[in-house]
Symmetry: C2
Subunit: 313 residues, 2 copies
Amino acid sequence: MDIESIADKREINAFAEGFRHGLPLPAGMDPHFEESLRHVLDTPGSLVRPRIVFQVATAYAVADSCAKQLAIALEYFHTASLLFDDLPCMDDAAQRRGAPCAHVVYGEAGAILTALALINRAYALSWRALAGCAGQVQSGALDYLEQRLGVGGLLYGQSLDLHYATLPHDRETTERIACGKTVSLIRLSLVLPAIAGGANAREIQLLERVAMCWGLSYQIVDDLKDVFQGAAETGKTGARDLLLDRPNMAFAVGIPGAVKRLTHLIRLGDRSLKCVLATRPALGFLAKLRTDLEDELVRVTQNACATTMWEQP
Amino acid sequence: MDIESIADKREINAFAEGFRHGLPLPAGMDPHFEESLRHVLDTPGSLVRPRIVFQVATAYAVADSCAKQLAIALEYFHTASLLFDDLPCMDDAAQRRGAPCAHVVYGEAGAILTALALINRAYALSWRALAGCAGQVQSGALDYLEQRLGVGGLLYGQSLDLHYATLPHDRETTERIACGKTVSLIRLSLVLPAIAGGANAREIQLLERVAMCWGLSYQIVDDLKDVFQGAAETGKTGARDLLLDRPNMAFAVGIPGAVKRLTHLIRLGDRSLKCVLATRPALGFLAKLRTDLEDELVRVTQNACATTMWEQP
């Protein structure tokens, strides 16, 4: 293991600890509720979002403690959205993050209360993280949070996703849903800490573009993984998109079309990324993230070449 | 109709308008989602909570616009909690506020997204309402909001309620659940606007006591209504507590016991109310609320005398 991966591992462990202890559970709680919360808090995901939040915040000189609060807040919002998404009335998934879904173990109501507890804490951590900002920066950041999570953001994507069966199964619809469901949280991860750190309008615009391109790319990678990989590798119930008629770029435009779109989006993101890095060199870690995304693309397309199961429509 | 009830009616209409338009729906929303939101926003409840919030805030000289935002925010939290509560995995109710429940018309997933939209807006309105407060007042108010809604407040009550079948069906358990589920929002309505208006520790303590007594009383009145009245009168599915083995003070200690407890709580609240009114005469409207509560008690106990269906256990 090289020094970089040891540092990475340490950083991930620190965020896993932050995730685990970021929502204090009072004594005398209902034991079922406590167990359900511990189940979720003890099973963090890849923690890629909080690491991005923290690094962007640091690049904009946001205080360490505020950057950490914001990072954990956004991971709680993300986790809550997955808890809802996995419910029988939505995706009806059985596995998440390598463990049984909360609703499978603690019932639907238990999973809903757990998600609401994460959400309540996430809003509280967000405004605490932003409490020290100047008035206009603070209100701008909180407005942005509301918009990305609300009826024009994450919830917009979720609602379209629910009625996907009645919508055209084309690229436009697939991307509208991804813009709401996936990109909203990627935008929050990249842009919100920059707003909190007082980024100017031009920087925010560039980061928005990077977030849009990467968010859509990330979703396509996820779609391709759903097609090629089983539960063992992704840690969640596999090949569900086909089974449940869920939006998936590979079904909308074929596998080669999805790979082409992904490559285009990564290149498009590169243009904005270049300008961002020229303006704010402290965001250099984004170049590494960009490489990781391309590595994923290569890995997934190798899978695509190796399989004969799916063909271009 | 006397002048007072005309003024009341006007005030209720104003809050109904605020409730209806407090969550702007952007163009291009998913039509199912928009319909579900409109269904809920067009069916306000009694609006007693926002009226209390507004009047307490006004008594503490909180600016009108902030008082209104806070009032609508708390009504959105309350409405969202009812949307979750009515789901098949919780109370499985069919009617709410004189209309079919959202989950009946728009499905469980639709009702959940609607509740989350209200919650997102409610947090945003809350911090906007509190944005102008001094730093310590603001953080105190936001901490209080987090506590009342979180794992030690509303969610605590909901989680106990879910597992009521496994708990002792006594007064203590019934009140612990009511403290979480009902009293949390009454406390928010009475105390949060006072905190926002810079009330001192003594006033907050007194208002807390009034809120506890009235919140528990309000729950007992609701429990007795569930026993005596059908769907026609309460606007929700009737006699569900018995059917679903839900906590109800009348089942825990018998109807005379419940009425006795209610009378005791009202008298206990009177002591703190007297001190509050001596300190802050602008809160005079609370005396009227206190009378309304006693009127309800009289009305319900008259029902109790008129029926022979239920007997003391």
